[in-house]
Subunit: 117 residues, 2 copies
DNA sequence: CCGTATCCCAAGAGATACTG
DNA sequence: CAGTATCTCTTGGGATACGG
């Protein structure tokens, strides 16, 4: 049992989960894992996220120290997002989650494998 | 992009997340990783979960094939829960999530480490 | 002992419109 | 270009009571 930022967790793994749960966070992190991106590039890569949601998720990731936001004082505005060192550390974990998920879907995908007749 | 059980996922890691997100699932899985448990044993181990919530989480985990439920036709009733093979496979991942979370809390815990005076 | 049923609330997320 | 501001709706979870 631990308290972290006014929230109670029964295991530190729940802290990790709280960092990456959010409709578009995994997608965002995956793309940023390949390199720095601007806001509108992310928008194109995650077209189903509304501008509002994309911003919200980015703000949370930034506040949590997983990504860094750099604003260039130019016109038109230019903002870049990158993974922080901690964000980088997350990448191999995302891969594991991916692999497990893929295995799971393959095993449970075709719902109820017919017993060989 | 994939559809699995009427839900859209942009990455298989999101499938994995959906399997383990739930207020008490990680805790339940962690305890079951150490061995089979009866319902009321779980209740004592997870006292903050209401009976209803505990049941709900267990039902979901069962439906998702991560735990198995065995009912013994005795009086008073006796029900046992165990990890399935797939549930076992989850265990090392939970450990990784734990370790990352612990690192994270340690690094970000004492909010703004004072520059050594 | 091991649940289910009902009611309620708060957080997360979508749609849409506006701005420096 | 890169955001805020509202408003609404759905979902997860809590409280409580009852049943085989």
């Amino acid at each position: 049992m631990l308290t972290f930022r006014d929230t109670e967790y029964s295991c530190t793994s729940e802290v990790t989960l709280s960092l990456i749960s959010g409709k578009w966070k995994i997608l965002i992190l995956s793309f940023l894992a390949k390199g720095t991106l601007r806001f509108n590039e992310l928008q194109k890569l995650v077209p189903d996220a509304t501008q509002r949601m994309l911003t919200l998720q980015l703000r949370t990731l930034e506040k949590d120290g997983l990504i860094a936001r750099t604003v260039y004082a130019v016109s038109p505005p230019k903002v870049e997002y990158t993974l922080t060192e901690f964000g980088q550390r997350l990448v191999p974990m995302l891969s594991m989650l991916c692999r497990f998920g893929a295995d799971y879907v393959e095993a449970h995908g075709s719902t109820a494998p017919e017993p060989q007749a």
